[in-house]
Amino acid sequence: METLTEFGLKIVSIFEAVMGMDFVSEIIPMLIMWAIGGLLIYLAIAKDMEPTLLLPMGFGTILVNLPLALTAGVISEHGAIEVLYNAGVSNELFPLLLFIGIGAMIDFGPLLSNPKLMIFGAAAQFGIFFTLFVASLFFPINEAASIAIIGAADGPTSIFVASELGSQYIGAIIVAAYSYMALVPIVQPPVIKLLTTKKERRIRMKYEGKSVSKRTRILFPIVVSIIAGVVAPSSAVLIGFLMFGNLIRECGVLDSLSETAQKVLANLITILLGITVARNMNAEAFLKKETALILGLGLVAFIVDTAGGVLFAKLLNLFLPEGKKFNPMIGAAGISAFPMSSRVVHKLGLEEDNQNFLLMHATGVNVSGQVASVIAGGMILNFFGN
C-alpha cells in the first residue's frame, strides 16, 4: 500500500516537473476543464445539442486550458483568442452581426397574420425577471441581471447583455443559455403538462391562414425598430440588427444578400463566436460554486418562462367564450428558442389529439418570443447598463 502511495506521489511529482505546474491547484482544474470541453464536444456531436456553438466552445475550452507555456500564445494579451474577443465579443459586434443572419432566417408571416399572438411572447419573458429577483439574493445586481437574461433563451442576446454589463460569469451564462435551448424538448413538456389539464391540451384552434401583403412584410421590421427604439432605447441596436436582417429578406430585391446573411455570415460569425467566448472558460473563472448556481438559475428561468406563457394563456381563457379559447400550450412557445419550442408544443398537441395541429399558432408565438426576448434584453440594459 505504501509502495503504491509512493508510486502515485512520484507520478504527481513527474507531472509537476514536466508541466511546471502545481498538481492540485493547477493540473487538476486543467484536467476538469478538458473534461468539460470534451463533454461539450460530445453533446454537440453525439446528442446534436446546439452543435454550431457547443462544438467550437468545447474545443475552445480545451484550447484556453492548455498548460501555461502553450496558453501564452492563445489567450495572452496579443494571443489569437484575446484579439478575437476584443474585436468581436467585448464590443458586442459578433452577436449583433449574428442577429442580421437570424433576422434574415425568420419568416414573421405566422405572426403578421395573427398579431395578437405576440402577447404570449411578452408573457413568456417572465422567467427573466423572476430569475433577476432570485439571482439578486446571491449576486450583485448587475451580475443578477446578466444571469437573468439566460431566460431570453437566445444566445446572441445573452452574450450581448452579459458583455455590455461586464459580467465575470459570461462563460457560465453562455453555456447555460445554449445548453437549455438544446434541452427545450426535455425541460418544457413536464412544465406544460403540470400546468394544464388534458381537456385544455385538447383545445383546438382554428387557423385561418390569412395572407400578408408584401408591404406589411417590408414595413414590419422598420416599424418594430422605430417602436423599440422610442420606447426602449437600449433595445434599439439589438432589434435594429435583427430587423435589418429581416428587411433584407423581405424586400425582394436583395436575395443574394439575404442568402449570404442567412448562411455565410451566420456560419462565419458562429464559428468565431463559439471559439472566442471560450476565452472565459478558463479553470480559474469557470470552476467556482457560482457556476453551478448560474446553471441552476438558468433552468429556473426556462421553467418560469414556460409557466408564464402557459398561465397567461389560461388567464386569457377565463374571459374568452368557448370556441375562441387559446390552447394554453401555445403560451409556452413564447420563449425564444426557435423553432424547437413551437415543435414541442405541436408534438404535445398531437399526443393528446392527433387531429390538433398547433404548429402555425405555436410558430407565430415562437417568433414573437424572439422579438420579445430582444426587447427584454433592451429593458435589462435600460435598467442596469451604463
Binding site: 405572426l111 402577447i119 400578408v212 416599424v223 422579438v371 435589462i380
Partner: protein
Amino acid sequence: MFNLFNTLSQVVTTQAAEKAMGLQFTTENIGEALMCAGAGMVGIFLVVGVIILSVSILNKAGSGKKKD
C-alpha cells in the same frame, strides 16, 4: 418583539443558505430587483402592445392590396 423575531429569522435564514451553498446571501438588492422586474414586464407588454396595434393597422391598410 416583532423586530427581534424578524431580525433573528433573517439571520437564521441567511446563515442556513450560506452554509448550504457556501455562497454569500444578501437581501439588499431585493427592492431594486422587484421594482425592475415589475417595470420590465410592464415595459415589454407596452412595447408588444404597440407593435400588435401597428401590425393590425398595417394589415388593415394592406388588405385589398396585392398579396404574396
